[in-house]
């Protein structure tokens, strides 16, 4: 870790985690299909996808999750958090050439944990992902 981790005592309700913004590309979706073995035709077969409910190729739902994590890790200035729990609900598809922006907001905390509400929006400001991260204060305080 290049910088000093955030002191969990300094976390405040309403704190925003840094926004992480990326453009999703068709090439990235194809590479992710290779990486994950997930060649679901909704992701890689334009004819199939065009005839589907989605009317076109959609990205693997797990691709933009990287940016949700990146936002949280940037906030805490760590690269790993033991006992992290991330609960994510995908509410709209992400398509090739969408630019996604992911961020979080500290919703609550107590002596045991910190809860961060998570969101991701596309370039049309449409919400495509919501969720919650639960972070154990113990692991932050022990320097993980």
């Amino acid at each position: 870790m290049n910088s000093v981790p955030l002191d969990p005592g300094k976390v405040k309700i309403g704190d925003l985690t840094p926004e992480v913004r990326y453009k999703i590309t068709n090439e990235q979706i194809k590479e992710y299909a290779e990486l994950s073995f997930d060649h679901n035709p909704l992701h890689v077969d334009e004819d199939f996808a065009n005839k589907s409910f989605f009317k076109g190729i959609i990205a693997h739902g797990t691709i933009p999750l990287a940016y949700i994590y990146e936002s949280i890790f940037k906030y805490f200035r760590v690269s790993w958090i033991d006992d992290l729990i991330m609960n994510i609900k995908l509410i709209a598809p992400v398509r090739p050439n969408d630019t996604v922006a992911c961020y979080g907001m500290v919703k609550s905390f107590d002596t045991e944990s910190i809860v961060i509400e998570l969101s991701g929006v596309n370039q049309r400001k449409e919400l495509f992902i919501v969720g919650e991260a639960i972070i154990s204060r113990r692991t932050l305080e022990t320097g993980n």
Binding site: M1, N2, S3, Y22, Q28, E31, Y32, L35, S36, F37, D38, H39, N40, P41, L42, V44, D45, F48, S52, H60, G61, T62, I63, L65, A66, Y67, I68, Y69, E70, F73, K74, R77, V78, S79, W80, I81, D82, D83, L84, I85, M86, N87, I88, K89, L90, G131
Partner: protein
């Protein structure tokens, strides 16, 4: 490209282990993931062996489900709950078990929750991913 002939919804039984995937996670695997994500948080790692970042765990659990020939054409991912318990480092062997945690039908949609238990070769649980999907058919 369509043509997956996996497990029919009716044949999925709650509590059943329906798949397994074992691999050794290479440095190249992790670097390929970082390149694909375009993500920068690998730049924060100093002098430590590379380890699987939490979002890469999803790619490993997807590998398990496809390696085990579970999907049919067109399942829709609804959500995930991922618990990060222990790091998986480059060079570590892992085993992923796929278990049917729950299933139900609501408004004609066939929901399934798959649990993926990722363990290292010391049998430590590293990640537990509960994946919620809608099964086509």
């Amino acid at each position: 490209m369509a043509g997956y002939k996996g497990i029919a919804y009716a044949d999925m039984n709650v509590g059943e282990t329906v798949g397994h995937y074992g691999t050794t996670v290479s440095k190249k695997d992790i670097e390929t993931y970082f390149m694909n994500a375009g993500s920068t948080f690998h730049q924060n790692i100093n002098g430590e062996r590379l380890f699987v970042p939490p979002p890469m765990a999803y790619a490993l659990t997807l590998r398990a489900i496809f390696h085990s020939n579970i999907p049919v054409d067109g399942p829709i991912l609804v959500g995930h709950e991922l618990k990060c318990i222990n790091k998986v480092f480059e060079g570590d062997g892992i085993d992923v078990d796929v278990i049917i945690k729950d299933k139900w039908i609501k408004k004609d949609r066939k929901y399934i929750i798959f649990d993926f238990i990722v363990k290292n070769t010391k049998k430590d649980v590293c990640f537990v991913d509960s994946m919620r999907v809608i099964w086509p058919e």
